[in-house]
C-alpha cells in the first residue's frame, strides 16, 4: 500500500529550495542539500511544488484512502519563460501519458 501523496526523489533533487519556498503549508525542508517533505499527511495536494521543481524530482500520488491506484504525476516546464506545462503521468502497468497545458489557453467549460 502506497500511502504517500508527495514523493521527492532524493537522487534527482538538486537542492534548489524552490519547492520549499512555495509550499503553502511550509511542509518541505532542506537538509544536506536535499528537499524533504516533513509531514506528508499535512499536504493539501495543490501541486505547487511539482510546478516549481526544475528537474522533475517531485511526484504526486492519490493516497490509498482516496482510492489511489499507484499512478504518479509530475510536471515539467521545458522553458522557464514558457507558458506551457508538460504533465507526465506514469501508471503501475508501465504505461504513461503526457498532457500539455498552456496558461494561454482558457478552460472551455
Amino acid at each position: 500500500m502506497n500511502i504517500m501523496s508527495i514523493e521527492i526523489n532524493r537522487d534527482m533533487c538538486i537542492g534548489c529550495k524552490k519547492c520549499a519556498e512555495v509550499c503553502p503549508g511550509s511542509l518541505i525542508s532542506i537538509s544536506a542539500n536535499k528537499a524533504k517533505i516533513k509531514s506528508v499527511e499535512r499536504c493539501w495536494g495543490c501541486a505547487s511544488c511539482l510546478k516549481e521543481c526544475p528537474v522533475c524530482a517531485i511526484s504526486f500520488f492519490l493516497g490509498e484512502d482516496m482510492g489511489g491506484l499507484g499512478g504518479k504525476m509530475s510536471v515539467y516546464k521545458p522553458n522557464k519563460n514558457d507558458t506551457a506545462l508538460h504533465w507526465f503521468i506514469s501508471l503501475p502497468d508501465k504505461t504513461s501519458r503526457k498532457i500539455i497545458t498552456d496558461t494561454k489557453n482558457a478552460n472551455k467549460y
Binding site: 511550509s26 492519490l62 499512478g71
Partner: protein, 562 residues
Amino acid sequence: MKLDIKKITTDFLVIGGGTAGCWAAIKFCEKSDKNVLIVEKANIKRSGCLAAGVNALNAYIGEGKTPQDYVDYARRDASGIVRGDLLLTMSERLRKVTAELEKLGLTILKNEDGKYVERGWRNVKINGENIKPLLADAVNQNEQITVLNRVNVFKYIVQDNRIIGAYGISIEKPILYLIFAKAVLISTGGAAGLYKPNHAGFSRHKMWYPPFNTGAGLSMGINAGAEMTTFEMRFIALRCKDTIAPTGTLAQGVGAKQVNSLGEVYEDKYGLTTSERVYGTVCENVNKRGPCYLKTKGISKQADEDLIKAYLNMAPSQTLRWIESKKPPSEENVEIEGTEPYIVGGHTASGYHVSTSRETTIKGLFAAGDVAGGCPQKYVTGALAEAEIAVESADKYMNENILFDDLGQVKKIKHELERFFIKGESAFTTDDLEEHMQEIMDKYAGGISANYKYNQKSLELAKKGIGEIKEKCKTLKVKNMQELVYVLELKERLVICDVLISHLLARKETRWHCFAEHGDYPDKKDEYRCYINSRLYGGKIKIFKRFLIEEGEVYEHHEYRN
C-alpha cells in the same frame, strides 16, 4: 526557547497575502504613495485558496444583466440573509476587476468578436492556473510593497477599540514580531478543519478549502471583541468523491445533471440553490437511492480531453484519478459527495460584520475576501472588488497618532508563547486535540456523519466538548516554531467552533438545508428574517439579532463610535 522581539512600522498592514490581500496591496498603491506591508503565513506566490489555480471566474455580470441581477441571485440563494449594500457595491465592480485581471495577464476565453465567453450569465471561463503567481509578481514588482513571508499573525494590537497593529511569529525562527500600522486589512481567508473531513486518515488534508486556512483572522477579531455575523450559515461544497475536486465545471460547463443510483435526475426535486443541491444528494443517500453522480456518461471524447486539462489547472488529483482508473468521464459518471462544513465568507454570509465601507467594528480594521461576512457568492472577483472598497476606505482613514507603551502586554504575550516550549512530553499532541475537536463537531454540531443535522441537545454537548479541549490546550508542549504555530491554529479553530455553535443554537429554524439544519426546528420562520450576530464581551459570547440591510443603504457601526 526564548523569542527575540522585532519591531516593524508600516503605513498599511495587510494580514494574509492571498488573492484579496495581494489585490488590496496593489490597489492601495494606485491610490496612495504610502507603504504597504503584506504579512503572509506561507509565501504569496502560492498561498490562500487559489494555490492550485481556478478555472472560472464565478462572479461576473454577463451581457444584458445588471449588478442588481447578481444581488437578486445571491439573495435568493441565501434565502434572504444577505447584506444588500455589500452585494450591490461588490457587484458594481465585477466587470471592472475582471478586465483588470485580464490586463494583469490572466487568460480569459473570448469569442470571435473579442467578447468573454460566458458560462451562464454569471461566469467567465479562464485559465487560472497561474492566478496567484500573476498577483505575486505584480506585488513583488511594486516598490511600495514589502512582503514578509512565513510569518504567522496571531493577535491584534487594539487600544480603545482602535487597531494599531498586530503580533506575529516567524514559522522558522524564534522571532516575535510587533507590527505597527496606520490602518490594517484583514484578508486571511475562512476556516477549514473545524469538522471531521471526508478522509479522516492519511489523506485528511485532501479537502476542498485549504487546510492551512485556519480562520486566524476570524479568531483574532472575535478575541478583540469584533462583531461577527451569520456564522451559522456554514458552507458545504458538493464535490467529486475522493478527490474533493470542484463539480461546477461538470455541472455548469458540460451540463451534467445530478442523478441517483437508479439513474433518475433528482436535482429538480429539491431545488437548485447551493444548499439544496447538497441537500438533495444527502436525501437520496438517506433514502437508499445513493450513491449520487454527475451524469457525464456519453459526453464526447473531445470533452474528455478538455476536462482532463481543465482539472489540471485547478484540481490535478481529479485528472490523475481519471487517467489511472482508465475511466474518463465519458465512460463513467462522476460520483459526488458533500464535504465537511466550512466557515467561508466568499461562498456564504459568515464573517466579520462590516460597514458598507468594509470597516469592521474595530476602528481602522478593514476586511476583504473570505473573512468578510454578509456578502456571499463573491468568489474571486467579488473578493477583489471588496478589497478595492476596503483600501479606498483605509486610505481615507490612516491613523497618524500611534502611541504604544504597553510593554507589559508584550511581555505577557512573549511569556505565554515561550511557556509552550517547556521540556518533556504532554499527555496528548496538538493533532490529538484537533482530531477530537473535529469528531465532536462532526457528531454533535452537524458534520458529515450526522447528515449535517443537529439539535439543541447535541449542540450543548458540542459546546461542552469544545470547552474541555480549550482547557487541554494549555498543557500542550512544542519543540519548534512550526509546532507553536500548530498550537495557535488549533486555538483559533476552537474559538471559531465555539462562536459557530452559539450561532447555530441561536437560529431556531432551518433556513438553509444542510448549511444550518436544525433538527428541532425543521422549517423556516419569519422571525428569523434577520442577521444573527455575535460579539465576545467580558469573556462571554453575546448573541443578538440585527435588521436586514438593503441595497442603497449606507451602513455604519453607530454604537461603536465614541
